[in-house]
Amino acid sequence: MIFLRKFHGLLIPLGAVISALAIGALIIAILGANPFEGYLKLLEGAFGDGDALADTAVRAMPILLVGVGICIAFRAQVINIGGEGQIVSGALLSTVVALNLPDLPAIIIIPIVVIAGIVGGGIWGAIPGALKAYMGVNEILSTIMLNIVAIQIMNYLLRAPLIDPVEIERGTRIPQTERLSESSDLPILIDGTRFHLGVIIALVAAIIGWLFLWRTTLGFKVRAVGHNANAANYAGMPVKKMTMLAMTYSGAMCGLAGTVLVFGSQSHRLITDGSSLGFTGSAGFNGIVAALFGGLHPLWTIPSSFLFGGLLVGANAMQRAIQIPSSLVVGLNGLVVIFVVCSTNIRERIQRMITISEETTQSDTFTRTRATNG
């Protein structure tokens, strides 16, 4: 019982991921490949050596940033599914800013593009936030629609006004910008790997997110509104403003992820393949998975993002080794989400069970003491 009481918060998400992986193993076996070999390659590919770890960290970074935003939004009871669109708008604004800046030293230009990304994503979060707070529009639907809008705006801009002039000259017309100024490249921190400044930015953002939620009055209000909007309103808290703030903060984190994805990319430019899933690598959705898995706690979202980043990196290694497409991991992520949200109920049942058993023990002691004294 003590074991359950201490660790059920950790056991349940682990149970969720293990169940999902077990189902994945079953599917791999049905498709005629060896699941053990597959998972071994997946682990090696994700965490096997320094290079793999660096790749995992880089892959985890946008997931972590989105996840931190999701922690704040979901705690305010705002379901932000608009991560994809907010990543795109942050990436777009910071790219436009970078293209229009004169050549400045890195120490000036990087903070500018980072702020531009935060603003871009923040705007794309503020729109559904305002629609929800002041007009009662369901934020799930509006954010999904705004994803489509942002992606199509990007497709338009990259095909016409922002397209690399070289692409027009050559007639290839690949929808991408020209190479961004070299001083805006996020510096590589470990030589020979892809580990760049963006990873540190994401870690700092996670710590700030935690401080915001649990060490500031504003964060307390956001959580209070999410916990019970009526009670918060009665206590004089501005419910609508907090809803908007949570959505804007969440969008800003996604926008930052967009900036880091562009300026930390190997091609150092914004590029689209025209599809609805685009350059984000579904980070807008994977961030939700990671945040839920981390119990909507920004600091726990750090290891959980590394886990999911690792799964995505490892999935490619698995694909090469046993020819099982990496889209398996997307499907498994879906299962993890379902298991984790189902487990909230299980967790409550366990908690009730523990409380009841403790109460019985206490009352037992009480009766016994009375009996001896009496």
Binding site: V137, S142, V149, N155, G334, V337
Partner: protein, 311 residues
């Protein structure tokens, strides 16, 4: 622009608008039933993707479109079982579990397609079934009465569902469970049983919508729905939770898609500008949602709220 406004092009565009509206309509009607009982299923897109893949695969292997459609419905039902267990037994958050279902469908439909089929091969599309007499009416006949069977079925479901919701005991139970589940419960209505039925029916219709989509197109590709399932959820709001309203919204979306496609093929919009027209339906949805939210007295009161007896 001139070449668009000729009678023959306009008729063809309207006719394909009705055809393109079908997947939206089937999915949105299923979602309407669910939402009237207080369940917001956001996984429609994922269910459609699974229904589409299995429907496509069945037709590819057997050549039978009827079997493809039936398998699509069956897959939808199975997905519905997962969703019902998550939201009714474990009382999981409906919105987030819907996103889980979406990712599940997105990932596994792609995985199975790559594994079992690989490169897209075409399958036979539905055959047109001209309704006698009505189909011979000039212009109108071409737009409305010269379609495939699945289009007629989808449209016939509109009055059927209206009758089911408004005029049957089952419909009354569905509405009461969606408005005040505790009152329904105290009168002996089994809330979760009603919700299980609407979830299964709704998901079966989403599976059917997916199968209809892929057979209409005569092929399959990754993420073939491209968000149709999410728009279908929005269409339920748009249609004021009434099958008739949902029909109007679906036709509008079908027509909009048909016009955009026609403009692209005629070269009226090309290259970069085409991206801007592609986002028109999404922009329209956001505006429509904002307008509807202002006067949304019709929203089922218990929407998204899990039911448990006060124990």
């Amino acid at each position: 622009m001139g070449e668009f406004f000729t009678i023959s092009v306009l008729i063809a565009t309207f006719a394909s608008g009705v055809r393109l509206a079908t997947p939206y309509l089937l999915a949105a009607l299923g979602e309407t039933l669910g939402q009237r009982s207080g369940v917001l299923n956001l996984g429609v897109d994922g269910v459609m993707l699974m229904g589409a893949f299995f429907g496509y695969w069945t037709v590819l292997e057997t050549g039978s479109r009827l079997l493809g459609v039936l398998i699509g419905i069956l897959v939808g039902l199975l997905m519905g079982v997962i969703y019902a267990i998550a939201t009714l037994v474990f009382k999981a958050d409906q919105g987030i579990s819907g996103i889980g279902i979406f990712l599940f469908g997105l990932g596994f439909s792609e995985l199975l397609f790559l594994e079992q089929v690989g490169t897209p091969r075409s399958i036979p599309s539905f055959e047109k079934l001209k309704i006698p007499l009505l189909g011979d009416i000039p212009k109108v006949g071409e737009i409305l009465f010269n379609h495939t069977l699945i289009v007629y079925i989808a449209i016939a479901l509109v009055p059927l569902l209206t009758w089911l919701i408004n005029s049957t005991t089952f419909g009354l139970n569905v509405r009461s469970v969606g408005e005040t589940p505790s009152a329904a419960d105290s009168l002996g209505v089994n809330v979760n049983k009603i919700r299980t039925m609407t979830i299964l029916a709704g998901n079966a219709m989403a599976g059917l919508a997916g199968a209809a989509l892929t057979i209409q197109l005569g092929t399959f590709q990754n993420n073939i729905t491209n968000g149709i399932g999410f728009i279908a959820v929005a269409l339920v709001y748009f249609g004021g939770w009434k099958p008739g309203g949902v029909l109007a919204g679906s036709l509008l979306y079908g027509l909009l898609t048909a016009i955009i496609t026609k403009w692209k093929t005629l070269g009226i919009v090309s290259g970069a500008t085409a991206s801007l027209t592609t986002m028109a339906p999404a922009v329209l949805t956001v505006i429509a949602l904002a307008v509807i939210a202002r006067r949304s007295t019709t929203t089922p009161t218990a929407l998204t709220i899990p039911f448990s007896r006060g124990d």
